[in-house]
Amino acid sequence: MSQLPYPTLTPSSRSIAIGDYPIKKYNAMDGAEIRILYGSEDTNATMQLTYQNITDDLASEFIRHFRSTKGTFERFPVAQEVYDGWDGDTTVGPNQIFRGEKARWRHEKPPTIASVRPGISTVQISLITVL
């Protein structure tokens, strides 16, 4: 199965934890702290998306997409609709919320789907960036 595009649906809530630079910290015997920077980009940003009360058909798109990315294995770009409501930059500039076009997301864990009533579900997606 080839990779399907991420569903073009605006989430009802979005939570992003900006990634950090890869750093190693060492403490000398006298207590002095030494930090070594191992990369030039921050990474491992995470994003939690909630799609509240959507139809089961739309919820199925997330299942199909998850399977098309071989679960948590493959990387993929998310749809622009994921950033709806965010006025800052998404791909470039100092206010960007993830690391430019280099960044690709992958599923951090399988989507969870809660059935609300017949035909209506709430889907939660957890993503993590990888450079």
């Binding site: 605006t10 989430p11 009802s12 979005r14 509240q52 409501g85």
Partner: protein
């Protein structure tokens, strides 16, 4: 064009007309599920679960001939005695009862809403100067069986 008042009201319990009903009320509600998404400026929704409930008041009245007591009929659907030989906390299940809340509009069938309900509360107060009556609240189990309003 006609208005209706208490004199046009009627309550049937399992198909039998209840005696000495002083009032009934019914209320239907729809829970709207929120579908508001990011970048929306106004709340949007989709229909969720409906619920119907109501209440009625009946005088605690015994018919001299039939000895029927409509208030007692409803009370006994909710209040159950301990099972013989059973533990103190074990009694028979609350019974489902069919209520028909009717408006006699002059037609043969009248206007009505019928449903299977569970009594959710029954209260009675004995007081000097007051006629004993039962205040009952009920909740429909499932959608109404018949609605003709």
């Amino acid at each position: 064009m006609a208005f209706y008042s208490g004199s046009n009201g009627e309550l049937l319990i399992n198909g039998q007309k209840a005696a000495r009903v002083s009032n009934w009320s019914v209320s239907s509600n729809l829970g709207v599920l929120d579908t508001t998404s990011l970048a929306d400026t106004d709340k949007t929704g989709t229909p969720g679960i409906r619920s119907t409930s109501g209440s009625c008041s009946l005088f605690y009245y015994s018919d001299d001939i039939t000895l029927a007591n409509s208030a007692s009929t409803l009370i006994n659907k909710l209040i159950k005695t301990k099972l013989p030989g059973g533990a103190p906390g074990q009694a028979a299940e609350t019974e489902l009862v069919q209520l028909k809340l009717k408006v006699n509009d002059g037609s043969t069938s009248g206007k009505y809403i019928t449903g299977n309900v569970y009594l959710t509360s029954v209260s009675m107060t004995m007081a000097v100067g007051d006629v004993l009556s039962a205040e009952c609240s009920f909740e429909f189990s499932g959608a109404p069986v018949e609605v003709f309003l």
